[in-house]
């Protein structure tokens, strides 16, 4: 019972008290135990009612008490070191051994034991704002994974190895960030940063001889501080905007260029069509003419006359005709052209230009003149062909 109670009782001058300061399970206080035993014995004697034959009964109780105490002692002294653990045993304060996994016994208060999990990685998380080389402020969240590489050093050398590690981590991280530019820290520099912090940190704590091994450092996030986050986000948005406006322009380009290509192709096709059309027509017409010419040469006069008459028949057959015998009749001849025009205007289209009588008369004269000259040339040419 008394042996099992961990920790000191606050007596600084106790020779073994020093071992208890770390809060570990240290050697129990011998002095205190003796006093308690004494009290107990006294109590038993007193309880017996002051009889003279008490010594034999008291001796029995004493033996039992001793046995119980011994059992308790052994119970406490035997310990198991797990596969993950190591234990450091000090004998009279001197380093005795580092215990490997298995069942072991130690002898308090001569020995003192410090048992720790050494293989398990512990984590220290850190999130802080810090200055960069270019006097910007960034927020870095980082975790350090570490375990105990040398339990002896861990126990004996440094007052509080874990807080030492934390201080060293902050120093190393700030050193590295302080030597980098913000852009570097926020973007591609993270991996290198973690490596550099690790290297630095390990060298610091090696210097302290703390027996800690830094396993891995994860730079979990590097970001701009909360105060300027919106501005940083806006930069990201700006990148998206840029992308978007480029895409829009690209889609515009994608729309009009192929259309233009199609249109261009249409122009070419039409031109090609025209080309082939005119050639084909030419060939056709030329062929027709050539064939006709062959027949014409066989009988020029008749053919010519026939063509002439056919043509005029066709032309005149479709027109309204006004026959004017200018030489034989009166010079002044009234043509009811305006009436005819009106008739036609009503029959075909109403959007005709209205002409007054004077204009129509002039027009009629002109037509008559024109027709006369034309028929005279054609007859002349017809005659010359003969």
């Amino acid at each position: 019972m008394a042996w099992n109670e961990p920790g000191g009782n606050g007596k600084d001058q106790d020779p073994w008290g020093g071992g208890n300061r770390g809060g570990n399970q240290g050697p129990p206080d011998l002095d205190e135990a003796f006093r308690k035993l004494q009290e107990k014995l006294n109590g038993i004697f007193g309880g017996k009612g002051g009889g003279s034959s008490s010594s034999s009964g008291g001796g029995g109780v004493f033996v039992v008490a001793l046995l119980v105490a011994f059992a308790a002692y052994i119970w406490n002294a035997v310990y198991i070191v797990d596969q993950k653990e190591r234990a450091v045993v000090l004998r009279f304060g001197e380093y005795l051994e580092t215990v490997t996994p298995g069942l072991h016994i130690y002898f308090p208060p001569i020995d003192s034991k410090y048992q720790e999990n050494v293989t398990e990685f512990r984590t220290y998380n850190l999130r802080q704002q810090m200055l960069t080389e270019d006097e910007n402020i960034v927020e870095v969240a980082m975790s350090v994974q570490y375990n105990i590489s040398d339990l002896k050093d861990f126990i004996l050398n440094v007052e509080n190895p874990e807080s030492s590690l934390e201080q060293a981590t902050q120093s190393a991280l700030r050193h590295v960030v302080g030597g980098s530019e913000m852009h570097q820290v926020l973007t591609e520099g993270r991996e290198a940063m973690a490596d550099e912090v690790r290297e630095r940190l390990q060298s610091y704590i090696n210097n302290y001889g703390s027996g800690i091994n830094v396993g891995k450092i994860n730079v979990e996030s590097t970001s701009a501080p909360q105060e300027v986050q919106p501005a940083f986000d806006d930069v990201i948005r700006a990148r998206e905007d840029k992308e978007r406006s480029q895409n829009r322009a690209q889609s515009y380009a994608n729309a009009i260029v192929p259309e233009a290509r199609g249109e261009a192709q249409r122009l070419l096709e039409e031109a090609e069509g025209y080309r082939q059309e005119v050639i084909a027509r030419a060939e056709g017409e030329a062929n027709r003419f050539t064939q006709l010419l062959t027949e014409y040469r066989k009988a020029p006069e008749v053919t010519r006359q026939r063509i002439y008459l056919d043509t005029l028949q066709e032309v005149l057959g479709q027109s309204n005709k006004v026959l004017v015998d200018v030489d034989g009749g009166n010079n002044m001849m009234y043509l009811p052209l305006d009436k005819i025009m009106q008739e036609r205007g009503g029959a075909t289209s109403s959007g005709r230009v209205e002409l007054d009588a004077q204009q129509i008369r002039e027009l009629a004269n002109q037509v008559a003149e024109d027709l006369r000259s034309r028929s005279s040339t054609s007859s002349r040419s017809g005659r010359s062909a003969q």
Partner: protein, 290 residues
């Protein structure tokens, strides 16, 4: 019998007490001195079980491990009179127990206080001689090493203390200055964002203009080629016509004119004013052969 056994018990207890008083243990984690009536008789006790004169000798035990002095953040001024908040820590351990005991009477807090003042004055001197840039990103290692070394020399001599490491944990700007830094960072980002957006617009415009140009060029080239084709067609057809019509030019004129008349007067309702003297009407007036 009873008083005798009582006496025995008392003697036993006394013996145990004296035994305990005359034995002491120094752990590997500790350093110790032994004092006899205040006089230092054992300046550096090795770890292990030791004997001393009971009730006369006093053992003073100190923590012999590496200790930390974590002083509170201090405000420093750099060379260009910019304020900085510097948070440093010192790792030290007792080196010479005797000197340590005499200088600090074994009080770790006192030792921390003495060290802290020295570290601060050194840091102040060094920071005061450097620009902000140099303090934040400069050769911190060398700086710290210099402080460690000079501090160590004095601390060893005066305090019996070995200074293992001096490090700066935080170097921050004071809150008021931070605000203006944030403001600057914000404007820098704004600038960057604006630039990116404008670049986006620029490139968009380039893409559009390029597309427009492509369209124009495509159409113009197509027009050119189309005209070439038409011209070619015209030329070929002209050649064909010419070849055919050259066989009899006069007949061609006649034939073509006839066709033209047909085409011209194709429309129903044209009015023709005719002279009955024309060839066509030759037989309209007389039927006998002239």
């Amino acid at each position: 019998m009873s008083p005798k056994s009582m006496l025995g018990v008392i003697v036993l207890a006394l013996a145990v007490l004296v035994g305990i008083e005359s034995l002491y243990v120094v752990s590997e984690r500790e350093r110790a001195v032994v004092l006899r009536f205040g006089e230092l008789i054992e300046p550096n006790v090795q770890p292990g079980l030791h004997l001393k004169a009971p009730f006369i000798d006093k053992v003073r035990i100190f923590d012999g491990r590496l200790l930390t002095l974590d002083s509170p953040p201090e405000r420093f001024l750099t060379q260009e009179k910019k304020a900085l908040i510097v948070d440093s820590f010192v790792k030290w351990r007792i080196d010479n127990v005797e000197t340590f005991y005499t200088a600090t009477s074994g009080d770790i807090r006192r030792a921390n206080q003495l060290l802290s003042q020295r570290v601060e004055s050194r840091l102040r001197n060094i920071v005061g001689g450097k620009s902000l840039q140099e303090v934040v990103s400069g050769e911190r290692d060398e700086l710290m090493q210099a402080i460690t070394l000079s501090l160590n020399n004095i601390a060893r001599k005066e305090l019996g203390v070995e200074v293992v490491d001096v490090r700066v944990k935080r170097i921050d700007l004071p809150p008021q200055v931070s605000d203006s830094v944030f403001e600057r960072m914000r404007t820098e980002r704004d600038k960057e964002a604006q630039e990116i957006r404008s670049q986006g617009n620029e490139q968009a415009e380039v893409i559009r203009a390029d597309a427009d140009r492509q369209k124009r060029v495509l159409l113009a080239e197509a027009y050119r080629d189309a005209e070439k084709l038409r011209g070619d067609g015209d030329a070929q057809s002209a050649a064909i016509y010419a070849q055919a019509y050259n066989a009899d030019t006069e007949f061609f004129s006649f034939y073509r004119s006839m066709q033209a008349y047909k085409e011209t007067f194709r429309k129903q309702g044209d009015i023709m004013v005719l002279d009955p003297e024309s060839d066509f009407f030759r037989y309209l007036k007389q039927s006998e052969v002239k």
